[in-house]
Symmetry: C2
Subunit: 325 residues, 2 copies
């Protein structure tokens, strides 16, 4: 199979992208780099080139894993790691600063084959939170570990621990100072969501989802968003779909967004595209819950609806793949 | 309306209790004090009397609120507070000790009328975590706050902050020492779950759910269970049901238990009893996910399935109430 790689960097409001194809031993992978007020007018041309180059690199990396017979679990973890290691996204290295001027990270992963899941919340010293989330899933009896406890666990598992300063980037620091100066009008908090995520189906028909984030700029009080909440920002089940979300986390938690898409497929018999559309473009939109999701089902169908002005995203899949955008 | 108060302290394996009635401006409230290996053989007679007396007191308290026209939100918070203030349950004052010999508390509340929710995770100094969860819901823009950040928020809201020693009870300390001595065989961790919870529908037809816990004895690494995870241990929506769970939290998170019951009602058209049964007695049981839930719908129907040997629980409702047990 020659993979078709497609990148989206479009700015149409309320537009749902969906792809239909049939899985016949092939594989599909979708990534996102956050939804929000992402418009070309807001970004310099060289920044757009940087984003497109990184997303393409991540997609090619995912393709190489799945092409070689790797699992969707390996692929989604590895692709999210790459985005965590890039300063471009609000996850890992590029995380935003909280109200105390610290970087506080959340991540989750779920294996659609086994139904197992792992998550970390509020960690400050784990270089790759997504790998810690996977360790929680595979090496502990738990699903969600938080704060210093999660960091201790990650260290015991031999994961790379870094100084909190590792996560410093001038761009995010400047944004933090600017946001702090305008703290009374916190609008800026809600307009950009650079969370990253990846969903995939592998040659064996197994699904997986992974999501990682630095949360909201100026977040306070140990706020936990939807990313590490299984069922809200991250969910995978071979029988339905794998979902990774990005957006205003509180709305995604209250609406149990990721699992709701699976539930609509399972109990109503809707297609992935119908279910994703119902949740993101109707339910969330009606509530003012801004954001988007990426999702894939076992047949390689994908959905990438978002109700914001833009969402960084890209995918590859079968030869028969065609895009509507 | 003269409320009929009923208490259950039974030991039948795999038995579902359900109640059918019609709501006509009346109200219903259900509480639980944990599911697990709760058998008369395990508890001295005077302990059973204590539990029954406390559960009765809580139910009468809830009844007085709802009878006077109070909201389900006020009732579930207040009833859970009473259980948090009692050393009998693994929540608030009676919380178990974690691996470090500390008490680390989680709680969540959800308002079925508005769809708003609040939760705290890993707090050590808030006397009533359920009241902090409600403050998160009503006084912040967030759903979930964790650790010291959540404690700071609670203090700023004027909630009662206590020394961590407030949560010490000799009984739990002895259990901690015993568990620690047998840490290699951690079986004991999974057999008792004293989480408390309350669900209610008020005279106005509004639903609410509240859950509070000290988690697992000897829990490590900042483990967060299902209680503060909206959709897993706690969920409420006027259109479907209000649910509070107790049991092996990791299974409840992975299966998005509380919301799944609502989703089955919403998308499959099942009754509350059918949906609760499907999730607790089939899905969870097949996976070895031990525990139970309490739930109520807008018509005052209640369900209290559990797949353990026992679950402390009680309810009151309409004159027409009848129990099958």
């Amino acid at each position: 199979m020659k993979a078709t790689i497609s990148l989206f960097f479009s700015f149409f409001l309320f537009l749902t992208f969906s792809v239909s194809s049939q899985n016949s031993g092939n594989y599909t992978l979708v990534i996102h780099g956050g939804a929000g007020n992402i418009a070309k007018a807001n970004l310099p041309a060289d920044k757009i080139v940087e984003f497109e180059a990184k997303l393409t690199e991540v997609l090619k990396h995912g393709d190489s894993i799945l092409k070689a017979g790797g699992t969707s679990l390996d692929a989604v973890e590895s692709c999210v790691r790459m985005m965590e290691n890039s300063p471009l996204f609000n996850a890992g290295k590029g995380a935003v600063f909280n109200a105390d001027g610290k970087n506080e990270l959340d991540a989750a992963i779920m294996d659609g084959k086994t139904g197992l899941a792992g998550a970390v919340a509020g960690v400050k010293t784990i270089r790759n939170p997504i790998t810690a989330a996977r360790a929680v899933m595979e090496k502990s009896n738990h699903v969600m570990l938080s704060g210093i406890g999660a960091e201790t666990f990650a260290a015991e598992q031999g994961l790379e621990i870094v100084s909190p300063e590792y996560f410093f980037t001038q761009l995010r620091w400047d944004a933090y100072l600017k946001a702090k100066a305008n703290a009374d009008s916190m609008d800026n908090m809600d307009k950009k969501h650079g969370t990253v995520g990846c969903v995939a189906v592998d040659k064996y028909g197994n699904l997986a989802a992974a999501t990682s984030t630095g949360g909201m700029t100026l977040k306070k009080y140990g706020r936990v968003g939807d990313t590490p909440v299984i069922g809200a920002g991250t969910y995978a089940d071979n029988n339905t779909c794998a979902v990774s979300a990005t957006g205003h986390g509180e709305f995604f938690i209250r609406n149990v967004v990721a699992y709701d898409i699976a539930a609509i497929m399972k109990y109503k018999g809707s297609t992935l595209a119908e279910a994703a559309n119902e949740v993101v473009m109707i339910k969330l939109k009606n509530q003012g819950g801004i954001g988007g999701i990426i999702a894939v089902d076992k047949n390689g169908n994908i959905a990438m609806p978002f109700n914001t002005s833009g969402m960084f995203r890209g995918s590859f899949g079968f030869d028969s793949l065609c895009f509507y955008c």
